[in-house]
Amino acid sequence: MISRGLWNFPAYGLRTHFEELDRMKRHLDQVFHQVEPSRLPGTTAGVFPLINLTETPEAFVLRAELPGVSAEDLDIQTMGRNLTISGERRIAVDRSAKYHRREREAGRFSRAIALPGEIDRDKVTAELKEGILQVTIPKAEVAKPRKIDIK
């Protein structure tokens, strides 16, 4: 299995552990920040699963469509502000049956994304319901917006 995904975050991408890439990221961020990510549906990294990422003042919420994947076959890990989702989708094949259509894909997958802010790694929660994975990633205190009162 090839673990892809170091470059798979189009809007905030190129966040890796390597410093030189970090420098490139800063340049690219300046470009990408001018375009609102939500205006670009269909911009994908081309890596399964496709993800939607939203944020609230308290947390990042990541969702992915993973129909037919059971929780035991799914592995979610965090490292720094990176989150990795990997696993396997198993589809039983009936050898004795005659197939008319086979459009559903089975196999392994791995995807890493860099979150655009510091996260509270200890409080990440994940839920898999009706084939949709939802990962709630609370922001670290430093990353939460704070309202400043004007005296």
């Binding site: 990510p37 939500s38 469509e65 094949v93 004795s96 949709i132």
Partner: protein
């Protein structure tokens, strides 16, 4: 005998939107669920990926050889969420098939789990292959 496809890496697939003939009354995107259809001696099996659809929100209809599958989704994004990255869209599901075999309507079995619809369409007696003895 069943076995699993193993080791292969999943390729990313874009969701296909319903277009053309079957115009929908309500607005919002409607997607074509990917399916596996396989046939054994006694039944036709259909598996459809419909993530986000709850078991009560799927509608299956078979009449005049046309099988219709429709799935409703309830929006699950919280009101105070702001989009950062949107790679896929969420919408209803709709797909129709012509089933050439005679199906025993009474015995159709449908299950929805983990976002996958599993439909078993048992063939009616008449449609089952019957071995014809040839007398000499």
């Amino acid at each position: 005998m069943t076995h699993h496809d193993e080791g292969k890496e999943i390729q990313v697939g874009k969701k296909h939107e319903v277009s053309g003939a079957t115009e929908q009354t309500r607005s919002g995107p409607v997607f074509i669920p990917p399916v596996d259809i396989f046939e054994s001696e006694n039944e036709i099996n259909l598996m459809a990926d419909m993530p986000g659809v709850k078991s009560g929100d799927v509608d299956i209809d078979l009449r005049e050889n046309v099988l219709t599958i429709a799935g409703e989704i309830t929006p699950f994004e919280g009101g105070n969420e702001e989009d950062l990255l949107i790679e896929y869209e969420v919408g209803r599901y709709f797909r129709q098939f012509t089933i050439p075999e005679l199906i025993d309507q009474e015995k159709i079995d449908a299950q929805l789990s983990e976002g996958v619809l599993k439909l078993i369409l048992p063939k009616a007696e008449k449609a089952k292959p019957r071995k014809i003895e040839i007398r000499s």
